[in-house]
């Protein structure tokens, strides 16, 4: 009798323990996108990261997302996610910075991750990617492939990430051809394919024979292909749009970062920090090198490998600024807040 009771008690305890862990809820991870996931660019790549998290963690994680959330309107969306039980919320645009902080203050148990921002808190982390590493590589390729020595750069708005990208591109190009020139057109929109195409056409007519972009659609590449020029894809591998023109693309790959951070929450090791992953962590990668001779591809691969290994730093000092002054060391803070051009860029930044 006693033995039966003991066994029964033990079984009950075990069952209780098993059911308790089985009923432990899945972690809810949520994302806020500034554009539609159908933009095939910035938000699309973040969404790919979400899908990777889903695949990696299966039942342990539940995901949700909101797309095309206007920055001026974002606070209530973020708060809604927090109220709906999200335990980690990724806000993927710098314009979400203040709203994220406001909501984070109200929900200290929820973790917030703000992309491309610079303000942190106990439960707010910022994360960014070293896109400029990729820019350096394509700068080198551009200098090798261009016959006119001029690249046309189509950009949206002057934010530090974009400026750092231009500078890294120039430094890469200048390492191959010190007289390389870049012409810049600000489209003043992140997303208007027709306008991007117009900007690319104008640049090509002004002597550029390579297109580089920091806008989201594949329109500039298509323009390059139609004109028989070469170009670089942005955020995603856009070779489908320009099979003969795309040399390579800088691919945003948020999966490694997202998997790491969600994993951190799952095993309780999440900490607030300022992350800045690059090629070494796999967040920035290059699409396959196409439409170029063997030796150029080889050079690009070696440069990328060196950056990945940490032996080559695109912003290794000393760097000469546009106004002639020399910067001995370019540190992370300077890159994240970059507001000056390197020598050789013909454009003026708002001061």
């Amino acid at each position: 009798m006693k033995k039966f009771l003991m066994t029964a008690a033990a079984t009950a305890l075990m069952l209780g323990a098993v059911s308790a862990s089985a009923s432990a809820e899945a972690l809810k991870a949520c994302w806020v996108y500034v554009g539609p996931i159908g933009d095939f660019g910035w938000s699309y790549q973040h969404h790919n990261g979400l899908e990777a998290v889903k695949k990696e963690f299966g039942d342990k994680v539940e995901t949700a997302y909101a797309e095309s959330v206007a920055e001026a309107d974002s606070e209530k969306t973020i708060e809604r996610f927090a109220r709906e039980g999200c335990k980690i919320i990724f806000t993927t645009s710098f314009g979400y910075m203040e709203p994220t902080l406001k909501v984070a203050a109200k929900f200290p148990d929820v973790k917030f991750e703000h992309a491309t921002g610079y303000k942190t808190a106990d439960n707010v982390t910022t994360y960014n990617a070293k896109f400029h590493e990729g820019r350096y590589v394509i700068g080198q390729i551009a200098a090798k492939m261009s016959k006119t020595g001029i690249a046309g750069y189509i950009v949206s708005f002057p934010i530090p990430e974009v400026v750092a990208g231009i500078n890294a591109f120039m430094l890469g190009a200048q390492s191959v051809n010190p007289d390389f020139k870049v012409k810049i057109v600000w489209a003043n929109t992140w997303f208007d394919p027709a306008k991007e195409a117009d900007a690319a056409k104008v640049l090509l007519s002004q002597g550029a024979d390579i297109t580089v972009q920091h806008t989201d659609s594949a329109a500039p590449l298509q323009t390059a292909e139609a004109a028989g020029a070469f170009g670089f894809g942005q955020a995603s591998d856009q070779i489908k749009f320009a099979p003969k023109a795309q040399l390579t693309a800088i691919v945003d790959n948020w999966a490694p970062y997202y998997i790491r951070r969600v994993g951190d929450v799952l095993n309780g090791t999440w900490k607030s920090q300022q992350s800045w992953d690059g090629m070494a962590e796999g967040t920035v990668s290059m699409a396959p090198y196409t439409n170029m001779p063997e030796d150029v591809a080889k050079m690009a691969m070696e440069t990328a490998a060196a950056i990945k290994a940490g032996t080559l730093d695109p912003f290794k000092g000393p760097v000469t600024k546009q106004d002639g002054t020399v910067v001995d060391k370019v540190d992370a803070g300077m890159i994240l807040g970059m507001n000056w051009y390197v020598k050789g860029v013909d454009d003026t930044l708002p001061q």
Binding site: G38, F40, P193, A194, K201, V202
Partner: protein
């Protein structure tokens, strides 16, 4: 010289969707109907045109799809405003909302698919000369045919037109459908020729510019042509000035097309008689045949 020719081609490509959509809306407004849903009809035309080309593998097939999509949206608008007598301004805005959402929904699977560009005809996009032809046709229709006269009569004074025995509602239905067809075609131009791809909201406000151009042109088709090209030229010039690296703030350059249009309007509108002659007096008013 070659540079000028290249720039001209770029300008023509930029102006054509504006021209096509504005011509359609000119006819619609001449008949007294204010359809603010041009953006919605255009974006539906873009997704339908791209979808049609994608499904059949032939870009030419996209054109009828684009036109029909625009007409379908226009039919919805016409039913609401002509038969159900709903307010035209609000209905047009609702049409835009619906068009933007519906096109995004339909185009979900088309994102990331490269399109096939409409082949060139004698070295230029065939829709560019077509847009010129259309301008001439619309102008001829409005001012040299009886049917055009009826349209203008209906737009100026629908009660009198009705008293004369003309079917106001039918005329307006047809004009609205024509407007939809043109807007749809303009959208198709974007996704089949300009940038052969589909992404959400790819019209990026061009429907609104087209609406403004109709007003700018005092509802005269030839002036619509001038307006579309004025806007297109200034837009492209602002990029050229940027590429030249002159240090002018890009925001100022980007605002030039809008400022330029306002300035041109101010100059043109000085002739009050012309404006009054061409403004459809019944614009935006619902017509109900009283017993």
């Amino acid at each position: 010289m070659e540079l000028l020719l290249t720039l001209l081609t770029i300008i023509m490509t930029a102006a054509t969707p504006l021209l096509l959509a504005a011509l359609g809306e000119t006819i619609t407004e001449r008949a007294g109907v204010l359809n603010l849903g041009v953006e919605g009809m255009m974006v539906m035309g873009a997704v339908a045109g791209f979808g049609g080309a994608y499904l059949t593998g032939n870009p030419w097939a996209g054109i009828p799809f684009a036109i029909l999509a625009g007409m379908a949206m226009a039919l919805l608008f016409a039913f609401l405003t002509m038969t159900l007598l709903a307010n035209q301004v609000a209905t047009g805005l609702a049409l835009t909302l619906l068009g933007l959402g519906l096109s995004a929904l339909i185009g979900e699977r088309l994102v990331g698919q490269p399109g096939i560009k409409l082949p060139l005809f004698l070295g230029i996009d065939p829709l560019i000369p077509f847009s010129f032809l259309l301008t001439g046709l619309v102008s001829w229709f409005l001012f040299r045919t009886k049917a055009g006269l009826v349209v203008r009569a209906v737009g100026n004074n629908h009660a009198s037109a009705h008293a004369l025995g003309y079917s106001v509602i039918l005329v307006r239905y047809l004009c609205i459908l024509f407007g939809g067809a043109c807007a749809g075609l303009a959208g198709g131009y974007l996704s089949l020729v300009y940038t052969p791809q589909w992404v959400e909201n790819m019209t990026a406000g061009r429907g609104w510019i087209a609406l403004a151009l109709v007003v700018f042109a005092s509802w005269l088709p030839l002036r619509v042509l001038a307006g579309a090209y004025l806007f297109g030229t200034i837009s492209i010039l602002s990029f050229v000035l940027q590429a030249m690296g002159l240090g002018i703030p890009s925001q100022l350059l980007s605002s030039l097309p809008y400022l330029g249009t306002i300035l041109a309007l101010v100059v043109i509108s000085g002739n009050k008689a012309l404006t009054r002659r061409n403004t459809p007096a019944s614009l935006g008013q619902a017509f109900v045949p009283d017993r």
